[in-house]
Symmetry: C2
Subunit: 127 residues, 2 copies
């Protein structure tokens, strides 16, 4: 693996071997994963995956979350286009949150990552 290096890092592959920090810094790939990695995001998405809910319903059903963090989580998901916020001009006001089409499209992958294979043990190295 030595001499064939032409000195040009040009990627022939669509998903180049070389991953620049820039790509991972600004690309939505990192953004979305970071969002999903936030403390309360999985809980909110799991609940909204079943049915749309109002703010207080989420607050009641997610044990331990503060109003502040629920708001921030929902705002973040809304910014990413995963959740839709619908305001009903009633008195008192009620706001309903639901998954967007995009959010819903992420559910299969998301639930796949939520399986718990308990595969903590290191496997034997297979060369």
């Amino acid at each position: 693996m030595s001499g064939t290096h032409t000195g040009v890092p040009s990627q022939a592959t669509p998903h180049a071997d070389r991953i620049t920090g820039d790509v991972y810094h600004s690309a939505p790939v990192t953004g979305l994963l970071r969002r999903l990695g936030e403390r309360w995001t999985p809980a909110v998405l799991c609940l909204l995956a079943r049915r749309a809910r109002r703010f207080n319903a989420l607050h009641r059903e997610i044990d331990g979350i503060s109003q502040r963090m629920l708001t921030r989580t929902l705002r973040g998901l809304e910014e990413d286009g995963l959740v839709v916020r619908t305001v009903f001009p009633t008195v008192p006001p009620s706001v309903e949150y639901s998954l967007s089409g995009h959010g819903r499209s992420l559910l299969p992958a998301l639930s796949a990552l939520m399986q718990r294979p308990d595969a903590r043990r290191a496997e034997t190295h297979t060369p």
Copy 2:
């Protein structure tokens, strides 16, 4: 889209609507997502998905990562059983990192989440 299946498909957990903070605090579900949400984890996994690599190879190919963060990221992935660390007792020592079976099993879901639908626009919610 496979599945006319609305609502949440999976979640092997039998219990339903109520999600306790305890579950999401200690369960591997949150742990894994948090791991994937870390800054450099996607980059490392993407590279290791192609082939096993040595420490310095990763350090060179992931632009902007520091040695400290590469070490921490790899240690974390190792703890979660997603990455296998193999030490070759050479001089100087060389260490090879590769995806474990568990780590490899996560790739489809992971790449699904890495698609960028550019669906930032809030869809017209029709109340």
